[in-house]
Symmetry: C2
DNA sequence: GCCGATTTGTCCGTATGTATC
DNA sequence: CGATACATACGGACAAATCGG
């Protein structure tokens, strides 16, 4: 549990912004004010503010202050910009959510699979194909490859629940980073067969690589989403915005 | 020009990782080692490392060290996880890229448009519709709404080039944050008419809100991409298990 | 245009806590 | 247990941007 000073302050400010104590387009109290209020150093306040900026809740302006840029997000949206499991995402939207395991095998990575997934040749992986059902309707077809070395003892029963929960709670490992590439592709025969596509002629495909706390990539996944239920949210911040020439 | 100590160190380490001096799955020299080598405080090194972690180049492991997790990204990919203009993205891929302005008008925001875009009622906006051509083929249909208040003096000629360049270079304003939502939708009549869709039956739709350095949302845009040329890359990190140290 | 007050940005040194080996 | 490495926090100093008088 992060009970450090800075995350407490981060939480506090975040809630105040969400509840409208600090309103959009207005400034937060100055860093020195806040550090006095929270009885901490300015550095600690700055860190909390940096986290809020990361979440696009605020933006710092040199010499002026910290503006609130938070806007109430539209409801019924999946925040795939963060890492959360399907379960978490759907639960948050209050829907009935089931998983059906279509395939559960182990494979040895050959050259072709290695090029596709980035795993080393000869590594052993679970291949799991799962269908995600929302209120009984198939919405996602997942193709997972997990390194057996990192996730020993995986079973179809666990796959039906949450692999991440198993990894974190049972094995004590931590998921840290996920890289994702999103494309739109034509449905495959498999998609047609299991997804009940009717009048939809494309799939949203999320290809992701997941790394644990050791920095090892242990998962390669391709998720094929039915467009109707697909939405992907992300925030980007400009890295090194150059200072403009004001000609004066 | 960011010639601060920490960005220099960040750049240096980044290049060493990209060029393979520090290889994946290996540890960087310890923070104390690096601070000695760069003749700076440990805090400054930590900040550079935090930035690399942000880029998913490295990951810190408490008590052990900092692992390199960088992997050569596949070529011909658009890094939409960051903010870059169409021009930048396409140029980076070495293709001929043109813009055709289909529509250029000013509107006053009414209730309907306000709900859609988030702009206040009564605000005045430019509405610009542009077709993006890659080697002569239409690939993106852009629908932009820009606040005239923030970007005065916009013309079709500028829209044909880069609005962001105009904003940053001429007006001295800076783009800082962009929020994006990605969905997959059926082609509209307009899409069919201008995009030459042939055997493609869906569009990748990116809806984005852009904020300037003052924290004001000045742009609302819907970009409709032909799937064939569409790819969206993003990185997510779990929770706020940050190794970031932005204070020192 | 200059000056001073305020505010954020950068950097340092130091101390202490905690995880790994 | 001790040595090493990262994590958190503090306080101080100075730079740079903004704004008002």
């Amino acid at each position: 549990m992060p009970s450090e000073r800075y995350s407490g302050i981060y939480q506090d400010l975040k809630e105040k912004i969400e509840s409208g104590v600090y309103k959009p387009q207005t400034f937060l109290p100055s860093e020195t004010m806040l550090s006095a209020r929270f009885k901490c150093s300015r550095g600690t306040v700055r860190r909390a503010i940096a986290m809020l900026a990361e979440d696009s809740y605020v933006q710092s302006i040199h010499g002026k202050g910290v503006v609130v840029i938070y806007r109430e997000p539209p409801a019924n949206r999946f925040a795939f910009g963060e890492i959360e499991t399907m379960r978490e995402a759907f639960a948050r939207n209050g829907r009935d959510y089931r998983t059906k395991v279509l395939e559960f095998t182990t494979l040895t990575v050959d050259r072709r699979l290695s090029r596709k997934t980035g795993f080393s040749e000869g590594e052993e992986v679970y291949f799991i194909q799962r269908l995600r059902l929302l209120d009984g309707e198939p919405v996602i077809l997942d193709n997972n490859f997990f390194l057996t070395r990192i996730i020993p003892g995986l079973t179809p029963e666990i796959a039906e629940q949450s692999v991440y929960d198993y990894l974190e709670k049972e094995l004590g490992d931590t998921i840290v980073t996920t890289k994702r590439v999103l494309t739109v592709e034509e449905p495959t025969e498999m998609d047609e067969k299991v997804m009940d596509l009717s009048d939809c002629h494309a799939m949203a495909v999320v290809t992701s690589e997941t790394y644990n706390a050791e920095g090892e990539m242990f998962e390669y996944t391709q998720s094929r989403h039915k467009p109707k239920y697909f939405s992907f949210y992300t925030v980007a911040r400009r890295k090194h915005a150059y200072s403009a020439d004001r000609n004066q």
